[in-house]
Amino acid sequence: MVQDCCACGDNIMILACSGGSNVGQLSNQAAVELTQEGCGKMYCLAGIGGQLKGFVQSARDVPMIAAIDGCSVGCAKAILKNAGVDDYRYFVLTDLGIEKNKNLSLNAEELRKVKDAVRATCAGQAAPGAAGIPTVKGGCCG
């Protein structure tokens, strides 16, 4: 969970619904790959949903959240509402034109579309040099 102290890229918390459909699993895989590419850091939505204090307080204190829901049921959105968090960037994969189904074999083109959408919205908040992130706002350890 905790990596380097005050590391760059840690200012974006990525929360994926990780649900049991293609769009749920696309949200999860996008969060994994964006984290690996330095564009934010995936975090445990389940911990927030379980109202574990460290997780809830983290969601309240982090500078920026990218919440990714697979569909309009909005599980991630509901969890954040219950946690008292209302300021975040929000993505619904079916709104990106991805059709929901029960096929858990992910489509590479759809995955790219999700990652591009998150990157475009979060540009300027992640680490310099991260894939697709040309600029950085603010700094690291002072």
Binding site: V2, C5, C6, M13, Y43, Q57, S58, R60, V62
Partner: protein
């Protein structure tokens, strides 16, 4: 009162520890302040980043330096 400052040891973590100790001293509250630097122990609190402040097991702030006023409110009985 048990206060823990979570952080491997960067300047922000050190500054947080200093603020917490000053707040405790100025408030006259009986408390122990422990700096937790072990990343595995920090991870047990589920925090997204450091510095973090935990008071009697409750996470009060994550990933930022709290103000002394905030700390005084947290430790006020």
């Amino acid at each position: 009162m048990d206060i823990k400052v979570l952080g491997p040891g960067c300047s922000k973590c050190q500054q947080t520890e200093k603020i917490v100790k000053e707040a405790v001293a100025e408030s006259g509250v009986s408390a122990t302040v422990e700096k937790v630097t072990d990343t595995l122990k920090i991870a047990e609190y589920g925090v997204f980043g450091t510095p973090s402040v935990v008071i009697d097991g409750e996470v009060k702030s994550v990933g930022k330096i709290p103000t002394k006023e905030d700390v005084k409110k947290w430790i006020k009985k």
